[in-house]
């Protein structure tokens, strides 16, 4: 089929109209993606029978302005009134879901968790400490390394994730990406690590599989505590 003479110009114009100017940067795409996965984690907690899910910030419950963190930080930070979710299962320790929190690995080195679920008891220690304290990775029950890419992902991202895993003792750590990545999938499968691909709203089957995997994480948490 020949190319319609104005098609390329039409695409160029349509591209300009379709974009939301504040969401064109790579960092905005990644931050949004982390927030999307935050939602899937909460859906998984509900599916596993969480009897309470509250959205809050340091100062408010159900804030009218919900602020997601876009750069790695500490729970103690008061720079912004960052939002998070509280989850509770009957008779179990309360959990919190955060974006972009620094946690401490076994070596004492700090790592960033794009999305993490940790014990509230640990979060409170870090939030209320007079000095800046990072949560211990052993007190994180689920974490996600989130990658939103337009092109193929470089293998270095898989290697970095393996480095993160080697220094942390999180019960369930996932590498989650919006598209496929043969090399990383091969590497992580070979190493027996948790990963999911094609995680994007229209891919219902893939998203359901991830939600189920998160739900399994909560099931294991309930059994252990």
């Amino acid at each position: 089929m020949p190319l319609r003479p104005t098609l390329l110009a039409d695409i160029q114009t349509a591209l300009g109209h379709a974009l939301i100017p504040s969401l064109t940067s790579v960092s905005a795409a990644n931050d949004l993606y982390e927030a999307y996965l935050f939602g899937i984690i909460i859906q998984a907690a509900r599916a596993e029978g969480a009897n309470r899910v509250d959205f809050r910030s340091r100062t408010q419950t159900n804030p009218t302005v919900f602020v997601f963190r876009t750069s790695p930080g500490y729970l103690r930070s008061t720079t912004q009134d960052y939002g998070y979710a509280e989850l509770e299962f009957h008779g179990k320790p309360v959990l919190e879901v955060h974006l972009g929190v620094r946690i401490a690995g076994a070596s004492g080195v700090l790592h960033e968790c794009d999305v993490c679920v940790l014990l509230q008891e640990e979060a409170n220690v870090c939030r209320n400490s007079p000095t800046t304290v990072a949560p211990r990775s052993a007190r994180v029950i689920l974490s996600v390394e989130a990658k939103f890419y337009a092109g193929d992902l470089g293998l270095h991202l898989g290697r970095e994730f393996l480095g993160f895993l080697s220094d942390t003792s999180i019960d369930k750590s996932f590498f989650v990406v919006n598209r496929t990545s043969d090399s990383i999938e091969k590497l992580l499968s070979h190493k027996g690590k948790l990963w999911e691909h094609n995680i994007s709203p229209p891919n219902i089957t893939d998203v359901a599989r991830l939600r189920n995997a998160f739900q399994t994480g909560f099931k294991d948490f309930k059994a252990k505590y």
Binding site: M1, P2, L8, T24, S27, A29, T70, Q80
Partner: protein, 158 residues
């Protein structure tokens, strides 16, 4: 009839230029990095097919008699494949981001009574803050669908 190599090159250049013009340089960078890497596969290569440098004649002889060995190989993408990679990347950056923003907005709105806005703020000044406004996302839906329709037309023409 499929597009000529010249038409494909022109389409690639036009789309890459448009992407850069609208702040999607990162998309073009990721695509060009993928194209430079090539399509990775594992395959068997007979050593005798590969001229060996820095080996003496005996070694060349020994290698040539060996069985094919497993290597990781990189194949160059064709011009058509390069254009397809760029189109797919633009779809992720436009449609994918819009869908993600829409999902975040809907989820937060459904879960927090009286929510007015979702903000994304850094700790410092290194990153630009942004907000997700439900109305803005919904008003872009038609424009996103137009873009998708034109992209589909281009994919059918390739």
């Amino acid at each position: 009839m499929a597009l000529s190599a010249g038409e494909i090159d022109a389409a690639y250049s036009a789309l890459a230029q448009a992407a850069k013009q609208y702040g999607l340089e990162w998309v073009v960078e990721q695509v060009e990095s993928q194209i430079a890497l090539g399509r990775i596969r594992t395959g068997k290569v007979r050593a005798k097919e590969v001229p060996l440098r820095g080996t003496n004649d005996d070694e060349v002889e020994r290698m040539s008699k060996g069985r094919p060995l497993k290597f990781t190989l990189s194949d160059n993408y064709s011009t058509q494949e390069k254009l397809e990679i760029l189109i797919q990347a633009l779809e992720h950056a436009v449609y994918g981001v819009w869908l993600t923003a829409s999902a975040v907005s809907t989820f937060m709105k459904d879960n927090i009574p009286n929510l007015t806005v979702v903000e994304f703020l850094p700790e410092g000044i290194s990153k630009k803050p942004f907000t997700v406004v439900d109305l803005e996302i919904r008003t872009k839906q038609q424009a996103v669908e137009h873009f998708q329709a034109f992209v589909r037309e281009l994919k059918e023409a390739i």
